[in-house]
Amino acid sequence: MPHPMLVVEDLEKTFTLHTQGGTVLPVLRQVTLAVAGGECVALHGPSGAGKSSLLRCLYGNYLPQAGRILVAHDGRMVDVVAATPHTILDIRRRTMGHVSQFLRAIPRVPAIDIVAEPLRAVGVAAAPARERAAALLTRLHIPERMWQLAPATFSGGEQQRVNIARGFALDFPILLLDEPTAALDAGNRQVVVDLILEARRRGVAIVGIFHDREVREAAADRAFEMAAYAAAA
Amino acid sequence: MTNAMREPLAGYNFAYLDEQMKRSIRRAILKAVAVPGYQVPFGSREMPLPYGWGTGGIQVTASIIGAEDVLKVIDQGADDTTNAVSIRQFFARTTGVATTERTAEATIIQTRHRIPERPLGPGQIIVYQVPIPEPLRWVEARETETRKMHALQEYGVMHVKLYEDIARFGCINTSYNYPVLVNGRYLMAPSPIPKFDNPKMDRNPALQLFGAGREKRIYAVPPFTSVKSLDFEDYPFDVQHWDHCCALCGAADSYLDEVVTDDRGGRMFVCSDTDYCGERRTAGHVGAGTPVALAAEAAE
């Protein structure tokens, strides 16, 4: 196996609900996974198996109780679980992209700027950043007249495509995709598959949740069965 | 016009204040002279005049005046106004020193609102009556804070006031008590003199002392000290100008008062400095002599 970009070792995640009498909800147990560059791993399992939770742990959005998440960042493996927020922000800025299930629209910010933002954050000038954003929005069939509008009023599918464009704007070495095609029609689903395949050819390591079997089979080269690791009874 | 010396009033110490008090005020004055523009606190006394009538100036004058001095007192440039007359009488009676209305003859000039037109010379002392000594009071009411601002030379905020003038009136409209920077260090209120007089303070050969009775502060500008009026590069400091000359003496270089002469809009412009005007007239200078509105009517 080529050099892994993302390694998960013995990851444990439980939720302790202090507001509900301290109920403990185990979610992930002993998750171990390695993803190499150019690989796309599809997390697989029934609803409640912890797919989204694992993805959120990888992105630093959820705080695991034990285990390690090693990410190739700046030429070395950095443990997201133990990293400071400052380091995680840096990883998110330069190494690891994330396409969430829903776009968190920001009031008044035009779609094109939302897409261009990850580029701007690493210092790309406004003009080339917008150029790249425009190319992606065009590819994802968002009509030009909508680029200057804030996506809060867009349909679910349109918002999702803006979200995908944003996720692919910068060539992140690692990409996390949470149901990127859920609200899309066949044409746009194919665009997303193409984007994934192109990213893989560039050597990007991808972990995703793909509800749609066709997309999963076209984009991913192996499935990671969550059932074995799900801690929930 | 000089009134000769006479015997001081019996039962009072020379210049009303006791020697101890005068010494303590002189110490404050010395400190003020040593730190030009810095406001020195002093133990201001109750005087036989109400606050606002020049009690600060009177105490300063009382502390420095000697039997040989010749005193001139002016209010708005005139020697014959109530305030000037009563202060002059006060010192005449409590010290017996000679008094004068002639700027040239005076060794001490106590003033409210003006600096004489005739340039002061070395050895003369001008004592200003000051109502509010703190130039920063306008921007900051807390004394603890203004003292800190002086200590740290945080004076930029003074320009906010000048900025407002320009924004509102198109020019710096502050016409009296115009803030100055003394010796490149302390921001100072020149007392409510017209800004016309500000340039006279700069490198003046006379010693300039300032007394604020109610606020209990003394400050000073030693002879030949730089006094710079605040301004902007593109709105440099400028003094008042008049379209008229003095109606009485014809002076074109003095600060003019507008005097209403009748109830038909007649008015005339005359020197605010009565001694200066009188001296010029004695020397043969003559003004147009008539109220300007009437003169204009007559011309038609």
């Binding site: 630093g60 009031p107 | 930029g156 924004a167 593109d234």
Partner: protein
């Protein structure tokens, strides 16, 4: 790539009022370009903390280290008062919850914006005015209000003016105390968006004290949660809000409708 040092390092910051605790043993670092949200309910010590950070209230114990433009670390409370006041006027900005605390209500908007420039020696009226106009435009205020006094402005405009007044000196660090408090929701959204754009464009760092978790979500990269003067939880904003660990944070997050 050489990592820059933190802009602000807080070590064991404590402030007591007699026997009562204002804030206790607070430590964190803030890097250039980072926004830190400080949340907690009234009386949790967040305002005390902000005052200690922004050199307005001397801490009982602990240090505030600030790295200046020349890479020099300044121990804020060990520095001389002139140095501290200079920082507050130049490198730092403070946006108060109540515009009355941060604006000169009686002087024009232009003079309010220009004051910091004049404080550092700018003496060209035309230049000051042009800069004031630039900043009015940036905070989306009508230029024809430049000579009006802030007491004639709406709450949202006053707040935008306060921001312009602070940013004109190109500060590197801005402290904000409930910047959207007391504003209508629509006005809040506009102000937040404006702030968000400005901090990104200018590469500003900021400490924002708020009890509004939505404000934190939108603006802050990281956040700390305070309760009774102590930090009970700290971390990435989305992590703290989406996976809160401390019982108090969980209560806080579950108490609002849309975090």
């Amino acid at each position: 790539m050489d990592a820059p040092p933190p802009l602000l390092q807080i070590e064991g910051l404590t402030r007591t009022y007699g026997r009562r605790i204002g804030c206790k043993d607070v430590s964190f670092s803030l890097w250039p370009g980072e926004i830190l949200g400080v949340v907690g309910e009234s009386g949790s010590g967040k305002s005390t903390l902000l005052n200690c950070l922004s050199a307005k209230l001397e801490p009982t114990a602990g240090r505030v280290l600030y790295t200046d433009r020349h890479g020099r670390a300044i121990d804020v409370w060990a520095a001389s008062e002139p140095e501290r006041r200079m920082l507050m006027r130049t490198d730092w900005g403070i946006v108060h919850q109540n515009p009355r605390d941060g604006l000169r209500m009686g002087v024009s908007a232009g003079a309010n914006i220009g004051e910091r420039l004049m404080a550092v020696g700018e003496r060209h009226y035309g230049g000051i005015r042009r800069e004031a106009e630039t900043w009015m435009r940036r905070v989306e205020m009508d230029l024809d209000r430049i000579d009006d006094a802030p007491f004639t402005f709406s709450g949202g405009m006053q707040q935008r003016l306060q921001i312009a007044r602070n940013l004109v000196s190109k500060p590197r660090l801005v402290f904000m105390d409930e910047p959207t408090g007391g504003l209508d929701v629509s006005v809040q959204a506009r102000l937040l968006d404006l702030l968000r754009g400005l901090v990104t464009d200018l590469g500003l760092s900021a400490v924002i004290v708020t009890h509004d978790l939505a404000v934190t979500r939108l603006l802050a990269h990281r956040m700390i949660v305070m309760r009774r003067g102590e930090v009970v939880e700290a971390g990435l904003t989305d992590q703290v809000l989406d996976d809160p660990q401390h019982p108090y944070t969980q209560l806080l997050v579950s108490s609002i409708l849309h975090p």
